[in-house]
């Protein structure tokens, strides 16, 4: 691996932050879904598990939701340059999961985490073959 390839890799990672307006709209949608989903979820946890979230304020949740939404968009944005098919697949998956979250399906959080891991896995595979070699 050379400095050039790491430079390309870093440039590639930084390019993930350049959101276009479509992705910003999607981020807005994800953030709203996450906010209400986690608000309900944490409320349930504090009752069922007696886990004290007294320090957790609404602004923490807002920042967290925007952060998580932006992270998903960041991952999708990375696919823009390397694999359009994967971009479409993962956009559909994330959108589908956010609908499951609205419907409050039991396994939606697990599916979200699993798809994030899967997207990172495919990113690594693609970066290795397309960028670094």
């Amino acid at each position: 691996m050379t400095h050039l390839s790491i430079q390309r890799l870093l440039k590639f990672i930084i390019s993930g932050f350049q959101f276009n307006y479509k992705l910003v709209i999607l981020n807005f949608f994800f953030s709203i879904v996450f906010f209400f989903f986690f608000k309900k979820l944490l409320g349930e946890i504090s009752i069922n598990y007696n886990f004290n979230f007294f320090w957790l304020k609404s602004y923490h949740l807002i920042i967290g939701s925007i952060g998580l939404g932006s992270f998903l968009i960041f991952l999708l944005n990375l696919f823009v340059k390397i694999n359009q098919n994967l971009l479409k697949i993962f956009t559909t998956i994330f959108a589908f999961i956010s609908i499951l979250m609205i419907l409050n399906i039991e396994f939606s959080l697990f599916l979200l985490l699993l798809s994030i891991l899967a997207s990172i896995f495919f990113l690594i595979l693609n970066i290795k073959t397309k960028l670094l070699n």
């Binding site: 691996m1 050379t2 870093l10 979820l41 946890i45 039991e106 396994f107 959080l109 595979l125």
Partner: protein, 503 residues
């Protein structure tokens, strides 16, 4: 200074510092570190002819007792400390091999020493626990993989028998290897297949030994305690293991991070911080350094994620369970740190300063105490040993005799006086084995030893305290004589002969 001299000095101070921290122990009836007394008792009972899991019960994995018993046989009680020291030395050499092989970083010796120093001095370090030994053996296996994959795989298998929950780390390591290979076919046939054959051979050999020595109960027992551990974990965490609904998953993820100890938090933050610093200044790194840094980071992302998965299995994570995460964070941070100062001419002075600044924390009295404890561990010598040596053919049970200093070494070999396997009695174990334990008391053994310290007994038995004491009183008032003047135990005997013998 010559490399050999430097190596020897480094090894010497690594061993000294390890002994200092391994030798640290509390000497009272402490429930937390009382685990050490359980381990001693189990090894003494195995020596007296009792079969693990069948005649004596503990919920630790099979390899943990087999591995440590070898050291116990050779060195006695201090063997339990020496086994941890042995694991640390293996880790030290493997880490040194990993650093030296890459020929990138200077100051390999101080780096290897410092990694051991942080691992043994971290707040969650308790020597003699499987959670301390297993991750170090796994990490040694990972470092030695390029040296010899069979040696490495043997270490993986050993670590798994000591602590089976370390499996995610090994799986993630092989996923890393799989991704590293250009040709997936080559990976399957050149890497995985030979290792599969090797592991089949190891397992077959192990089974052959177990069957030929008629020890198949060990496997049945291991299976039983693994099942127990699952039920215990589910009871205590309040949800089903691998429960994937959002509520359970969210609380479990929160619990992994919320129970971080202070030092684990520091190293977690330092690892991320050092990664970003190196990424920001990547242009300062040479081509080889950059290559090593990236491959190493790539490997550690997998390992640290896997270690967090292990933490998920251990919820609610006790202090010493974080030893499954700490060595990964510590070695990763130190490697990254050494990249930062690798070009600095006097980098070795930085390490010397770090070592000196930490050594100021130690005082002479602690050094004396810890070293003498390592050489001659506080083990409850003599406590109950006189009474136990006078048992002859009488059966006995010991109520509340777990997690405290006791001496079973005077038990006559193969007499099997212990009337049932539950000398290890804590509330969460009685939860699952209540019927068996009551049956054991109902069988009315010849002698009953009952812990005098009621507060401690209450702590051990929890909600079962009143019930068991009531049952005990019912028997002892009618059929038993009270005898002896042991400081820690009431002694009840059916037969007055025994009382006469010990008075």
């Amino acid at each position: 200074m010559k490399s050999t001299t430097l190596g020897l000095i480094s090894l010497f101070i690594t061993i000294l510092i390890s002994i200092f921290f391994i030798g640290y122990t509390k000497t009272n009836y402490d429930v937390g570190y009382g685990d050490f007394y359980v381990f001693i008792s189990i090894h003494q009972l195995i020596d007296a002819g009792y079969s693990l899991y069948k005649d004596i019960w503990d919920h630790k994995d099979l390899g943990f007792y087999l591995f440590n018993h070898v050291f116990y046989k050779i060195f006695g009680i201090k063997g339990l400390f020496i086994s941890t020291l042995f694991v640390i030395i293996i880790f030290y050499f493997s880490f040194l091999y990993y650093l030296k092989k890459n020929l990138i970083l200077k100051n390999n010796y101080p780096l290897a020493f410092l990694s051991v120093f942080f691992i043994v001095s971290i707040d969650s370090f308790i020597a003699t626990h499987g959670e301390t030994q297993a991750p170090l053996i796994i990490l040694s296996g990972i470092f030695l993989y390029n040296f010899n994959k069979y040696v490495s795989f043997f270490l993986f298998v050993l670590a798994l028998t000591i602590k089976i929950s370390g499996l995610p780390i090994i799986i993630f390591f092989f996923i890393f290897k799989f991704l590293q290979y250009e040709s997936k076919k080559n990976f399957l046939f050149k890497e995985l297949l030979p290792l599969m054959i090797f592991s089949s051979l190891l397992i077959s050999l192990f089974l052959l030994i177990i069957i030929s020595f008629k020890k198949s109960y060990l496997l049945a027992g291991w299976n039983e305690i693994t099942h127990f551990n699952k039920i215990y974990a589910e009871n205590i965490r309040g949800n089903i293991l691998f429960s994937l609904n959002s509520r359970d998953l969210a609380i479990d993820i929160a619990r992994v991070f919320f129970y971080f100890t202070k030092d684990t938090t520091i190293f977690f933050i330092l690892s991320i911080f050092s990664l970003f610093i190196n990424l920001i200044f990547f242009k300062k790194l040479s081509k080889d350094e950059l290559n090593f840094f990236l491959v190493n980071t790539y490997l550690y992302i997998f390992l640290i994620f896997a270690a967090l998965c292990v933490m998920y299995l251990h919820i609610p994570v006790a202090l010493h369970h974080y030893q499954f995460l700490n060595p990964f964070l510590i070695t990763y941070f130190l490697i990254n740190f050494s990249f930062m100062i690798n070009k600095f001419k006097y980098s070795h002075l930085v390490y010397i300063l770090i070592i000196i600044s930490f050594s100021f924390k130690m005082n002479i009295q602690d050094i004396k105490n810890n070293f003498s404890n390592f050489i001659d561990p506080i083990n409850g010598k003599g406590e109950l040993s006189y009474e136990i040596s006078n048992l002859e053919n009488k059966t006995f049970i010991l109520l509340g005799g777990n997690h405290i200093k006791l001496d079973y070494s005077s038990l006559k070999k193969d007499k099997l006086n212990l009337s049932c396997r539950f000398f290890y009695q804590l509330e969460h174990i009685i939860d699952n084995y209540y019927v068996e334990m009551i049956e054991c008391i109902n069988e009315k053994p010849d002698i009953i030893f009952l812990l005098k310290d009621k507060d401690l007994l209450k702590e051990f038995y929890g909600k079962y305290f009143e019930e068991i004491i009531k049952l005990m009183n019912k028997f002892t008032e009618q059929e038993y004589n009270v005898c002896g003047d042991n400081i820690y135990f009431f002694i009840y005997s059916k037969n007055s002969d025994f009382c006469k013998r010990i008075e």
